[in-house]
């Protein structure tokens, strides 16, 4: 049995393994690809997502930079417009706030303004759940989705992590690739060596159901599935949609999923006010109003800075428990 698995290359892979695998494959297949950022070289990155890549591909393809987020993104723009396919790692998403203009004003607008493509991929480890506190746990997708010109993807599973990374790098546009730190080593799948790109813009129904629909992404997909398990024990069938791409997001899958249950809960780890879930809810309230039998509910982080203490973070961060509660309320409406 073990042997058969090994023969087909099927092994258990974590989320971060899959990121590394995709980077490796991209570097091998396309010598326009370069990988850089703080400590991504010999050290392999703060989360080891680039481990071994400098050794395999050399300092010319995989390299460390000074601590200069603006110069990192700016130089990636320069490279991308001259034919390379830069993949940059922000050590933590949070630190990109020092240089958002390079991404949202510069990279994102170049094609509209000049017609020149800017194929950069910004890998941004995000999210909490591990005691990272206010400056190492942020989820800022709403900013990237608000600013025209970016694409934004956010895998929840190892398989999507590698498939979306390849699509992001092959896309001719700047793509923000959000990778959840909590998922890095907490989620595993048995996967073969070979894999296909996962198309940008296509959501996935992870679980079918008829009583209510959860629209979610990232780490909250797993919490939502766990919540659905709880309700399944009570004979309630919950549909769970993993958006996978946040911009452009998959309206059709969302509306179909809402149509199937007439009740919808939007779940994310980011703050509630002006979070990405507000857009999803507003979109449904606008285009799927006739499908609704109940208010559109949201489960999200409360509007407070991300607290450090486990006693606080565990209630701050949405969980299967809070999702279950919301689902009960939604179903009973």
């Amino acid at each position: 049995m073990t042997q058969t698995l090994a023969e087909t290359g099927v092994v258990e892979r974590t989320y971060v393994d899959c990121i590394r695998q995709a980077l490796q494959q991209l570097l091998r297949d396309d010598d326009r690809v370069v990988v850089f950022g703080e400590d991504v070289g010999a050290f392999g990155g703060a989360f080891k997502a680039t481990l071994g890549l400098q050794e395999e591909f050399g300092r010319d393809r995989v390299f460390d930079t000074p601590i200069a987020e603006s110069a990192i993104i700016g130089s990636a723009i320069g490279m991308a417009t001259q034919g390379l396919r830069p993949i940059i790692e922000m050590q933590f998403l949070d630190f990109m706030n020092t240089a958002l203009h390079q991404l949202i004003n510069n990279a994102a607008t170049i094609h509209f303004r000049t017609g020149n493509a800017v194929p950069i991929t910004v890998r941004a480890p995000c999210g909490g759940g591990f005691g990272g506190g206010p400056f190492h746990s942020e989820e800022l997708e709403t900013i990237f989705c608000h600013m025209p010109g970016l694409k934004v993807v956010y895998p929840a599973f190892p398989c999507d992590a590698r498939g979306l990374l390849v699509s992001a790098v092959e896309d001719p546009n700047p793509v923000v690739y959000l990778e959840n730190k909590y998922l890095y080593r907490h989620v595993k799948e048995c996967l073969a060596d070979n894999f296909e790109p996962v198309p940008i813009g296509v959501a996935r129904v992870c679980r079918r159901g008829s009583d209510a629909t959860i629209i979610t992404y990232g780490a909250m997909v797993h919490e939502s599935l766990a919540a659905a398990d709880v309700l399944a024990a009570e004979e309630r069938q919950i549909m769970v949609v993993d958006l996978r791409t946040l911009k452009p997001y998959d309206h059709d899958t969302i509306l179909a999923a809402v149509a199937a249950t007439n009740r919808v809960l939007v779940v994310h780890e980011a703050w509630r006010c002006c979070g990405f879930g507000a857009e999803i809810a507003a979109g449904i309230a606008e285009r799927g109003f006739h499908l609704l039998d109940a208010p559109i509910m949201r489960v999200a982080a409360p509007d407070v800075p991300i607290p450090f203490a486990p006693s606080l973070e565990s209630v701050y961060r949405p969980s299967a428990g809070t999702i279950v509660e919301a689902l009960r309320e939604l179903i009973e409406y």
């Binding site: 930079t65 130089s75 320069g78 004003n105």
Partner: protein, 331 residues
Amino acid sequence: MPVCPSSSLDLNQIPRNQWLAIYRTMCRARFTEQRMIRLYHQAKIFGGVYTGFGHEAIGAGTAHAGGDNDLFTPCIRDLTVHLARGLSVLDVFRQFLARATGPTRGRDGNVHYGRLDQGVYAMISHLGAMISVAVGGVMARRRQGLDAVAMAYVGDGATSTGDFHEAVNYASVFDVPLLVVIENNQFAYSTPNSQQYRCKHLIDRAPGYGIEGVQVDGNDAVAVHLKVREIVGEMRQTPRPVLLECDTLRIRGHGEHDDAGYIPEALKAEYAARDPLDNMRRSLTDAEIATARELDTIDSECQQEIDEGYQQALAEPMPDPATLLEGVYAE
């Protein structure tokens, strides 16, 4: 201290045509901007008008020292750079008049343009942000085996931004052949250098990046050009960034809405006496590169190009509103 420019420099080191090209670029820029100013005051321009009056020697002197593969990130006062790299005056008017046919197809306006096929990036407004773009661009070109260099233009004010620092340090760490052209025109909008920095010269920052800093008279195109040829020649051999500080004065306001009342009259007069176009004419005639007549002919050719360019641009359409949503993403 009005001086006879370039008096000690030997113009015959390089072909006559190169000097005439530089002169022509300076004239095209100056006359185009004169027209822009008129149009602005006639309310025929949408948005503001920011000119490079007094800066012409810097852009022309530097950009004409570049080769085909070199990259440029000009700033708001660098019309000369665009023209030196091959942009037509027609395209400039298209840009300022927001024509669908222009370099940004009316998507952006006035100074925010550039044609990558000419090695020129369209700036974003955020001061300092384009330097690292130039750095990355030339890193890519060198990987591709081209011995390209980049020239990034910034004002005195822009040197206070974090982006300036990050990009120059980054370029130094990666041995990137980047000429940082500091156009020190003594003011950032209304803010004088004394409120912007406290080093004596901005090239005092060069040792902090482990690189060389060079100063040059920014109103003397001959001096700028000869110095930059030398620097760029060395840079192609031994890729490293260099800071080049060009002393000048912004002759007009920050934009045409601004009368620059905060610039002392004496300072204005001092630099008016050192106008880069006058200087260049003097240099060329003194060195017998060209006669005043020949230069006059260039002047009138430029004027004609401008008349024609303006008329043609005017006749062309603005973007069709129906196309608003197009072009956000590359396919």
